[in-house]
Symmetry: C2
Subunit: 144 residues, 2 copies
DNA sequence: GTCATTGCAAACCATTTGCATCCGT
DNA sequence: ACGGATGCAAATGGTTTGCAATGAC
């Protein structure tokens, strides 16, 4: 996402492009594949924008989530975490949480289409998104 | 779950059966199908145990979750919610969150077995549980 | 009697909010 | 210049914790 598109998207919604908003988005984009907490994002943004406030980070994350640029995660560690909402993926990827070492893995497959069709047929409920977490044991932790 | 079994399960883990613990479990069992918050459970338990403290409710919920008697939910309303972990179901049911009216619906189907097998094969990750939420629009809200 | 459990109040901590100032447009 | 955005500090609110008293076994 370059600044031009971002600015346009913001403008459509009546928002302004500020250095703080750009910086937060940049950091999340730069750390694609990671799951950053607001505090971590704050610390990273401060490296280039030392004067930014934590509240602004929170407000920006809310905005980015609303705009669908960012995806909010709850990985059961007591913090909210965010990752870039990568438009290139056909479907959302899922997270595997290892109950042994607590590491997070990702699965690119998203085979919930059948299930979502069934839900539409049987429950007359039109699914537009889902959040899925799998709990279990990774290869290393399975061996013990 | 009757008191005898509950007491036995607690004993196995070195815990004692107290009236507070029994009361919390009873309330959750009595409200099977609902999604109660700690505060709501506290209020309901207080009807029969007026002296109970909220901290005890929290501690008991942690315990019941550990023991697998209760299932912790996050339905995106800012509160943690709990429901009875019904042993009678073959699989866990899933929740549908209507983005229109915010109502919660349930699907009994749990067709994630294929997916979990694939995850085991491709990622060598042994799934033992999952949490799934579907977001969309219920029948009424789809009409608009 | 012993040791886990409880109730209370205080502490915690992530997140939100009020408000004066600042700044993008 | 206008109105949205920011930074700061204070407030919020769910959850956890310390501790003395209580109660299950």
């Amino acid at each position: 996402m370059n600044s031009i598109d971002f600015k346009k998207m913001l403008k459509e919604r009546g928002y302004k492009l500020t250095p703080q908003r750009q910086a937060v988005l940049d950091i999340i984009a730069k750390h694609d594949g990671e799951h950053l907490s607001p505090e971590e994002i704050y610390d990273l943004v401060k490296e280039t924008q030392p004067e930014i406030g934590l509240a602004t980070v929170y407000r920006t994350l809310l905005l980015l989530d609303d705009m669908g640029l960012v995806y909010k995660l709850n990985l059961d560690d007591g913090l909210t975490r965010y990752e870039l909402n990568n438009q290139k993926e056909d479907h959302r990827h899922h997270h595997l949480i290892c109950m042994g070492c607590k590491k997070i893995f990702e699965v690119q497959e998203d085979l919930l289409d059948n299930l979502e069709e069934q839900i539409l047929r049987k429950n007359k409920f039109k699914v537009v998104d889902h959040k899925v977490k799998f709990y279990g044991y990774c290869e290393d932790c399975s061996k013990e």
